[in-house]
């Protein structure tokens, strides 16, 4: 326990310094516009007051995030492996994948709302698309750059099909796939706010959006802080999974 604290001492110190600096710039010296940049003196009570609402928003945001992200991982990785291994398919699809991944997902919003009858489905679709392309791209890149020697060893041992996919291709490409998944997770969080802008009645993104419309920037900042904390927590969880899966590549 003390060791965990010692290891994170630097993180905590930087956090305190950041908050203190912000506090000096706002509440103490009033350098920043107090209307936009609410100081900790205002944000803290706002945060405490809206904790219930934020927690409720957290749950409803997860209901969007989890299925959308999970779907993106499953489809992105399996399609990426399939396309990466089938050379003719890859050659013909690559330009389209590049083109599709260049379309900003926010532009798709009106189309998603039109196509899907419910707000929920449209939101899941948007988050899914935001996460899907980076995962697909990373998986493709990972499969294409697998060290040839691994594939040759697999070939001499006649490891084929499903066995080859799960015991050779996926582990060999895993470092790249994981980095794609981690970028995708951050995208998913950004798109959460976008997708909760329309039709949502609760959620972390909705919370921020709602108070921003009323120019309640103390609440907006409280919401940001909460979302950032959730993201840090989720990424820590993600790193834990990654550490276990990639134990063979880690340097320390």
């Amino acid at each position: 326990m003390t060791r965990t604290i010692a290891r994170h001492a630097g993180v905590v110190a930087i956090g305190i310094a950041l908050v203190a600096g912000y506090w000096l710039l706002t509440d103490v010296w009033r350098v920043l516009d107090p209307f936009l940049f609410a100081g900790p003196a205002k944000v803290y009570p706002a945060f405490v007051r809206s904790l219930d609402k934020l927690a409720e928003g957290f749950v409803s945001s997860l209901k969007l995030l989890v299925p959308a992200y999970a779907l993106a991982v499953v489809l992105g990785v399996s399609l990426g492996v399939a396309i990466g291994l089938l050379v003719p398919l890859r050659r013909n699809l690559t330009p389209y994948i590049t083109a599709a991944s260049a379309v900003p997902v926010t532009l798709i919003t009106p189309f998603a709302i039109h196509v899907f009858s419910t707000f929920y489905a449209a939101s899941v679709c948007i988050i899914f698309l935001g996460a899907f392309w980076p995962i697909l791209g990373a998986t493709l890149a990972g499969v294409v750059t697998i060290d040839k020697r691994y594939l040759e060893t697999a070939a001499t041992l006649e490891i084929r099909g499903v066995e080859k996919m799960f015991r050779v291709v996926l582990p060999a490409a895993a470092p790249t796939i994981f980095s794609g998944c981690s970028i995708a997770l951050k995208f998913a969080f950004i798109l959460l706010t976008v997708s909760e802008m329309f039709g949502a009645t609760s959620g972390m993104g909705y919370f921020v959006q709602y108070y921003s419309d009323f120019a309640r920037f103390d609440m907006v900042i409280a919401g940001f802080v909460f979302m950032a904390a959730v993201l840090v927590g989720v990424m820590a969880l993600f790193d834990l999974v990654k550490k276990r899966a990639l134990a063979w590549t880690l340097n320390s």
Partner: protein, 266 residues
């Protein structure tokens, strides 16, 4: 166990010729040691035999049939081990065993893997280690254990003992000889080495691969009843004569190559 015929095989990487017209007839059960300077194409020849590369011209026949690709009938020990770094050493072996003997139970596979690890003098705790946690020589022994565990009729070994200390190397040489001699149906082994003494000890058939482009420039086939005995080997005048002959051929090749490159345009 299977005869191998290399029939006028040439091979190029791009437009760089590596092998030019290699021909070699190897009878079933032969232990072929391939000697030659670094970069002359020994690994390339093994890769062709393993089916990992296709000859630019010529053909390779195993038991009369052309090699169509890599397979479990030809076990490979790569120069750089070729273990999967994400699997424990033991799983690397049991996976290979499962490929060759799908009928075995998990426990039998594990027992087989442990036996082969012991054969190459690795402790049982190596079974649970990742290749990254083993030393270079241990990894190489693990790869050898894997090749032995699948028990293929043809073994292709690329400088398998190069990274080992003299004592372990001597033990493993005995082990390979044992494995090869004991069987009713002897394996056919192709064994690349830089060590002339190792070749003399192990081989029934010593080939020297020349360079630019590579072809067999010298071959010595021992009589069928060759008995190898490390101690007696260097007392045998015939062996000493052969040793000098092989070294002379290798040196002559190097000198000739130097002269050729020195005479070229500057």
């Amino acid at each position: 166990m299977l005869a191998v015929t290399i029939d006028n095989v040439s091979f190029s990487y791009g437009d760089k010729p590596i092998l030019g017209g290699v021909s070699l007839d190897v009878e079933a059960g032969a232990f072929v040691c391939v000697l030659g300077q670094s970069g002359c194409g020994k690994s390339t020849l093994l890769r062709l035999l393993g089916g990992l590369e296709k000859p630019t011209s010529g053909r390779i026949l195993v038991d009369g049939r052309p090699v169509a690709g890599p397979g479990l009938d030809r076990g490979m020990v790569f120069q750089d081990y070729g273990l999967f770094p994400w699997m424990r050493a033991g799983d690397n072996i049991t996976l290979a065993v499962k490929q060759q003997f799908p009928a075995l139970s998990a426990a039998e596979r594990k027992a087989k893997a442990l036996r082969r690890l012991a054969d190459v003098e690795l402790d049982a705790d190596c079974y649970d280690k990742l290749p990254g946690e083993l030393s270079g020589g241990m990894r190489q022994r693990c790869a050898i254990a894997r090749a032995f565990a699948i028990d293929p009729p043809i073994l292709l070994m690329d400088e398998p003992f190069a990274a080992l200390d003299a004592v372990t190397r001597a033990r493993l040489q005995e082990l390979v000889l044992d494995l090869w001699q004991k069987e009713e149906q002897r394996k056919t082994i192709f064994f690349v080495t830089h060590d002339v003494d190792e070749a003399l000890l192990l081989a029934t058939d010593v080939c020297i691969l020349g360079q630019s482009p590579g072809s067999i420039i010298h071959r010595h086939v021992f009589p069928r009843d060759k008995r190898t005995d490390r101690a007696a080997m260097f007392a045998d005048p015939e062996m000493l004569r052969l040793r000098n002959e092989l070294i002379a051929v290798i040196n002559a090749e190097i000198v000739q190559l130097k002269a050729a490159s020195g005479a070229g345009p500057r």
